[in-house]
Symmetry: C2
Subunit: 206 residues, 2 copies
């Protein structure tokens, strides 16, 4: 059993790494199997198709991203708006680390799949859409706390959360296109200062 789950894990990890580094179409089942040192027959024992593997890989990526970024950034100990900024900073640090390791800004793994596949694969599109929704829920909670604390004016926090996730995706898109994580740092200030209407909202200035 140990070996069986190890095979599945290797396939999942390989899919995450290779597809994130390139694209969904840029990696085939053959190459995935070679990298994971798995026979093609084993692949189809665990996964019906590349789509099936990638759906599991997306779940895994979100589990990891949620634990390492969202649950850390949105811990209640931080002041509400500082949580949102912490989240943005963790994304920035992650892009810097990836660039240092691979020479490339790889962007948001979910955003990448969304733009490559949304017109072509409804199941993957809908899964990514649900993950964006979960991200928004974190941001929305922090905004609600910020309104309650009087840090920002009353507003449609659901819409603002959506706008902040959109902005984060767009900034990562520009950083990937420039292959420069510093784009994120340059645009970090706009993230909260204007979007939520906070007056002294930057954590560093509190």
């Amino acid at each position: 059993m140990g070996h069986v789950s190890d095979t599945k894990e290797r396939l999942l990890g390989t899919a995450l790494d290779l597809i994130y580094a390139r694209s969904y179409a840029g990696v085939g089942v053959q190459e995935l199997c070679e990298h994971a040192r798995v026979k093609k027959g084993s692949f189809y024992h665990f996964f019906e198709s590349k789509q099936d593997l990638v759906l599991a890989a997306i779940d895994r990526q979100w589990e990891t991203g949620r634990a390492r970024i969202f649950d850390v950034a949105f811990a209640k100990q931080l002041p509400p708006l500082a949580r949102i900024e912490r989240c943005f900073d963790l994304f920035y640090e992650f892009q810097c680390a990836t660039k240092a390791e691979t020479g490339k800004v790889q962007g948001c793994p979910f955003g990448n799949l969304a733009l490559e596949l949304s017109t072509q694969d409804r199941v993957i599109r809908q899964k990514v859409d649900r993950i964006f929704g979960e991200m928004m829920t974190y941001v929305e909670g922090a905004l609600r706390d910020a309104v309650a604390a009087g840090d920002i004016p009353e507003q449609d926090v659901s819409r603002t959360a959506k706008a902040l996730i959109a902005y984060k995706q767009g900034v990562m898109l520009l950083a990937k296109t420039r292959n420069d994580p510093e784009v994120m740092r340059e645009l970090r200030g706009e993230f909260l200062r204007h979007l939520v209407g906070g007056k002294a909202s930057l954590a560093g200035k509190r």
Copy 2:
């Protein structure tokens, strides 16, 4: 000569349509030739590779997009901030039209290629990056006029322009992931109201 340029045009138009509808990797040279009713030998007479064709197609797409969206929206007759909103509205109308025609929100053709290919193709990445830079120049000009007119506070207009293009890309990404252009309408208001710090910046409220 008429026939020769017609062949090249058909290849360009086919590449634009098919790649925009799917992805770069989702369309091969064989299929491009079949759709354009062009022999493979002719393809390689005009273009060295799929990359070569797509680079030309990106130029063409930007010529068209600039003329139909940016030059229209950023006409000097409009008040400065209304130009930026007009641009956003033209993007929204374009996504609605595409959805009506194909059933799919296809997003920004440049953003799509940026996220699919930036780690894999430096030449395409750099071309898309330059186009984003040209988009920012339009926005920057309008912001400079808005500052001069006293519509918005003094600010780093270059950075704000970058933030607005990032936001636009992110909103289109969410709209594509939801397959719903109305996401753009919902998030339209945040586009200027907060990002540039305009007090009564919405064109409809002037």
